[in-house]
Symmetry: C2
Amino acid sequence: MSIIVLGTVALDTVKTPCGKRKNILGGSAAHFAMAARLFTDVNLSAIIGSDFPKAYIDFLRRKGVILTSLIKAKGNTFKWEGRYQGDLNTAFTLKTELGVLSAFRPVISKEQRNIKYIFLANVDPDIQRHLLEKMHSPGLVGLDSMNYWINHKRNSLLRLLKRVDIYVANDQEARSLSGESNLIQAAKYLYRQGPKMILIKKGENGVLFFSDKFTPHLTKGAGFIFSLPAYPVEKVIDPTGAGDTFAGGFMGYLAKAKNTSEATLKKALVYGTVAASFNVEAFGLERTSQLTLKDLERRISEFRKCTLF
Amino acid sequence: MSIIVLGTVALDTVKTPCGKRKNILGGSAAHFAMAARLFTDVNLSAIIGSDFPKAYIDFLRRKGVILTSLIKAKGNTFKWEGRYQGDLNTAFTLKTELGVLSAFRPVISKEQRNIKYIFLANVDPDIQRHLLEKMHSPGLVGLDSMNYWINHKRNSLLRLLKRVDIYVANDQEARSLSGESNLIQAAKYLYRQGPKMILIKKGENGVLFFSDKFTPHLTKGAGFIFSLPAYPVEKVIDPTGAGDTFAGGFMGYLAKAKNTSEATLKKALVYGTVAASFNVEAFGLERTSQLTLKDLERRISEFRKCTLF
């Protein structure tokens, strides 16, 4: 099954203890696509400016990403500048230039309206809703957001949550949107807002996943739990986009499997985990753009050895 | 096989969002013993003051802890006062009164010198060395410490590391002692200091374990990895002593199994994980003192469901 991902395509400037890159290809939709393409056709809905390098468009196309709905507008491409220090777990944003992103309204083809697997990566929730309303028969809808929208467009975001199947958040965002400091209680709160699955990303500490599909062994009532550590990476170069890469691997696997059984969901989380582990091993899309399904599978078998008891 | 644990027996005053307890029984050795006693005989080497309630001594004895080497001295028992907020991951120490602990020199019996399983819970590294030197034929020696000793007695601690098999640290301590922010690199540094196994506790984010016993699938050279998430606990009441409880479950299982094969080590880590999850569900030793091996095993089977893929 094809996927459509809505999000940003950006020019990132990143500084980490391992080096610096200027205006490299980034953005939530680009990172998502680079992992999801390993499983299925990925349609990218995003906007770029007139300054966007043609080489990057060629690169995305070469990687098999479908660019029919990549809108080119007059003005500058969305730019993000940030740096990481110490344990590289937190990005410090130095600059954000929205550029053409501030006037973005997704436009997709008639054909694309029939796509069943939809991922609304981090952009303004009103833009996310805009795309979702265009879709004819959503099968599985995932949603990511960020603290900025939780603080500034909380109501839009909560309304949107009622219409999605999977809410993807990092631990900070889950705590902030729910007002709960315990992640299980946070997930239960978020579950009550609508999504049947809550995926909490904890960076180097792995993921917690809650779904009403699982046997109720841990918690009474809504939401049951799956917990995975991260794949241990010794040399983290640049964590930018790791969460989107995770989501891409996760949704990509689900779109390929065409079901959301407990076993499939767990497998999808494992694919997301190892995809993200490759992402952090190089700047931007350097490593994930070289990835094959075989690489993922090889690392999954290593991951098994270091987590199964 | 019997275990001897050296550490503190304390009177804790704890405030968490769930309530407050004053002068409850605590300390690293007490928490360790309460978990380890489920697997084997636990000898406790610690010091208490003349103010120490007889009821607590009776309680420890009733739980089967061997108190031959619990020294009673003139003066006050070691007291710790702390509080937790928000996600309850960090303890804020409000007060520490060393009392008799400042003059503690472990005294053990002739028989106890022959014990093979030794755990040096958090006290001054010079006191830890003092006990270790009394032991006739150490079989498996575990060591825990804390930031205070890393900062103030770094050399004593590093000398001691050469003589232990397992170094147990939380992520902060591992980073601080090694100077490495990446935990795998931190573990490799610590491994080079002597211990053949490094156990890094990450609180609600589980544990990372490094051992030269494991097949070298992840890292070249020293130290191979096992990673476990924590057992997801919805209602954390008081995390005090969770790390010591973990160590007690871990070492207790190893002492019972009498080997350190890869499978045994992994199992021991799982027992430590679930033991710690019970500890945080009540104040002090309230929950762990009621624990049975069956409780642990039941929770392990739940843990399996929410971590295995």
